[in-house]
């Protein structure tokens, strides 16, 4: 049963549907209108989740339930976003502000030949794209992704044609302006198509300028036959912010995906990743690292579907939780009946730095094929006393030794990040959090 919200006395469902009605009345008809309608219908079907919903066991959805107003998409200048642009991506930069594509802030001069970027509005004019998006929303199982579809007004579509091997790394920067006061919501929507035998490298970075905003994004990556995609998603939001994202990956025959997620910590971050290994020979690798302190929360919900034979998946999560912070990883690999000779590994490691910190892990396997090799594992630990003594016996102070050990815990993930500028930032900024915690 849903609780009533304080502001309106309505259930979150009713309130959201009410504001959707108003949203549809206020906006002029666009290519997004039908997607918005389908999104709202799907939301109505799914309902507003509470912690009894399997998908939200560890996530307090109340705090993002209501009171949020759609961000208007305010003016932001280049100076305000410069610090969020990774070095090397200055000329292959795509900027969304409050979910809306901003040409004046983007710079596409280094994009490789044939790579096409169009706004969501334009992309939806293409019936194929519209059909894909609409059917994905009709099948959507995540309430917040349905809400995104109900309210999104723009986004972008990136098309990497077949056989194009991109030299540049594209950074998609999703800025939340927080300009119009507290509790702004934005709904970025990104669709990337990597053509057959193409190779692409993409960084998706979330950042906010101020405030307690809620960014609720959906990203689709369609990876063609024999194509490769390197993706890193980095959440560098404001500390009070809430960031929900749904990332859907479709892997076709012999395609490769190598992904990483880095959470810098915010009031509530939730990453839902759905990967479908649709055809033989596809390969999925995913690493994730989070460093949390104070009351920060990061939750991962991950479903990997092995739908064809001879595919492999490998996932590794590492979370360092300090103070009263919380992390959770709820990951299931589903091996369908036809997916013989599947190889799958899933590992979750948590490092607890305080008695009040909390780390939940739920690694799971559902196997319907009979010739597969699948593993899953989970550890929760504190700093190893023998390692600590070893370092101290070489003259390092307790504080420095602990910092070194917590950093070393993250290192095996950090070093797999394929993008040097992201890795450098992680080392210089994210891992600094561990130093600040030394007492």
């Amino acid at each position: 049963m849903s609780s009533l919200t304080a502001e309106t006395g309505l259930t979150p469902e009713a309130e959201l549907l009410e504001s959707h009605k108003k949203f549809m009345e206020d906006k002029s008809s666009s290519n997004f209108s039908s997607l918005n309608k389908i999104g709202a219908q799907q939301f109505e079907k799914l309902g507003y989740p509470n912690s009894k919903h399997e998908m939200f066991t560890f996530v307090n959805t109340k705090s993002v339930a209501t009171g949020f107003v759609s961000a208007k998409g305010s003016e932001v200048n280049k100076g305000q976003i410069a610090e969020f642009v990774y070095s090397g991506c200055e000329r292959s930069l795509v900027v969304l502000v409050d979910g809306q594509y901003r040409e004046n802030l983007s710079d596409l001069s280094d994009l490789d030949n044939g790579v096409k970027l169009v706004s969501g509005e334009e992309a939806l004019a293409d019936s194929k794209i519209r059909e894909y998006l609409e059917s994905s929303v009709q099948d959507e199982n995540d309430t917040f992704a349905a809400i995104n579809a109900a309210f999104c007004q723009d986004g972008l579509f990136l098309d990497i044609p077949a056989k194009v091997v991109m030299q540049s790394t594209i950074q998609i920067l999703a800025i939340s302006s927080g300009a119009n006061g507290e509790n702004e919501s934005s709904y970025p929507r990104v669709l990337v198509r990597v053509g057959d035998l193409a190779e692409a490298k993409i960084i998706v970075r979330y950042a906010g300028l101020k405030g307690n905003y809620f960014v609720n994004s959906v990203q689709d990556f369609l990876i063609g036959n024999g194509a490769g995609l390197g993706l890193v998603q980095v959440e560098t939001d404001q500390k009070e912010a809430r960031n929900f994202s749904k990332t859907r990956l479709i892997l076709n025959r012999d395609s490769r995906f190598s992904g990483a997620n880095v959470s810098y910590g915010s009031a509530l971050t939730r990453c839902h990743l759905e990967a479908r290994l649709k055809a033989t020979g596809s390969e999925f690798r995913f690493n994730s690292v989070g460093v949390l302190e104070k009351k920060e929360q990061v939750h991962h919900y991950m479903r990997v579907y092995h739908e064809a034979a001879q595919c492999s998946s490998d996932m590794h999560f590492k979370n360092i939780v300090n103070d009263q912070s919380r992390s959770s990883v709820d990951g299931t690999v589903i091996v369908e009946q036809d997916a013989q000779l599947t190889n799958s590994d899933q590992l979750i490691n948590n490092l607890l730095l305080s008695d009040e910190a909390h780390a939940d892990s739920k690694p799971n396997l559902i196997i319907n094929a009979d010739d597969v090799k699948c593993t899953h594992g989970n550890t929760v630990g504190q700093i190893d006393e023998e390692q600590l003594f070893y370092l101290k016996a070489r003259g390092l102070s307790e504080a420095i030794a602990k910092t070194l050990l917590t950093k070393s815990f993250a290192a095996s993930i950090v070093e797999t990040i394929e993008f040097p500028s992201v890795r450098k930032n992680v080392e210089e900024t994210l891992l600094k959090k561990l130093e600040a915690n030394d007492g």
Partner: protein, 249 residues
């Protein structure tokens, strides 16, 4: 330099070291030999300040200070070095970087400036040569995936870089082939001089063919049961520890 008087201690309430007295002066090499389980390693861990091991009685004075009251890192900064019997693997911590941090901690403790990374690299390269270690081990994670021999060499490398005043080597020779043993002994001998002291804990006499001790102590059941010169080690080699174990019981 080091004065141990009637030291007792162990872990979890078990007394393993049962009254050890030992004086070590600068310029001396002491070998402590004894059967497995006699408490040699426990003694070394108490001296280095391992948190699990506790001294329950007696005193340990190092350069006039009460060693037992000092944190492990303070002992290290004062020049006490424990060469671990089983060096810990720490994946994620770069070997060279760790050594530089350790080296800098000593410098800062002496009131000196931290060393420039490039200058340190030169020192490290030179020291690695003396212990016959491949430079590739600089970029490896600390002891991570090292063979037994490489781990022990890495201990000696750390010792060579940190130049301790008092080094306690806990079974540094076990598990080494003869070439590695010679290398390790060579590294130890290079470091040794009249201002430094060395305690070599070993099970085998073999090491003492290469590191010449001034004193050999036989350790059994938590105590030093006999002290002599290096001829005692040869006697042990020939006759084994049996008579000491019997007397220990």
């Amino acid at each position: 330099m080091l004065d141990i008087k009637d030291l007792t201690g162990g872990f979890d309430g078990n007394e393993i070291v049962k009254g050890v007295s030992l004086k070590v002066n600068p310029g001396e090499i002491h070998a402590i030999m004894g059967p497995n389980g006699s408490g040699k390693s426990t003694l070394s861990k108490i001296l280095a300040g391992h948190p699990v091991y506790e001294a329950t009685g007696g005193t340990v004075t190092y350069k006039g200070k009460n060693l037992l009251e000092m944190d492990p890192e303070a002992r290290a900064l004062e020049g006490v070095f424990l060469g671990f019997q089983y060096p810990v693997e720490i994946p994620g911590v770069n070997n060279a970087e760790f050594l530089r941090m350790s080296y800098n901690a000593l410098l800062v403790n002496r009131g000196e400036e931290e060393i420039d990374p490039l200058d340190f690299d030169e020192i490290l390269d030179q020291k690695m040569k003396t212990v016959d270690m491949d430079p590739k081990y600089k970029d490896r994670f600390l002891n991570d995936g090292f063979s037994g021999g490489e781990k022990k060499k890495n201990e000696i490398l750390q010792m060579a870089v940190l130049e301790p005043t008092l080094a306690i080597l806990d079974e540094t020779d076990s598990g080494l082939d003869i070439d590695a043993l010679k290398t390790v002994a060579n590294g130890v001998n290079r470091l040794f001089n009249k201002d430094r002291a060395l305690i070599v804990i070993t099970h085998y006499q073999r090491l003492l063919d290469y590191i010449k001790p001034h004193f050999v102590h036989v350790f059994s059941d938590g105590k030093i049961v006999e002290t002599g010169g290096k001829e005692l080690a040869l006697d042990l080699e020939k006759n084994g520890y049996d008579k000491y174990i019997a007397s220990g019981n």
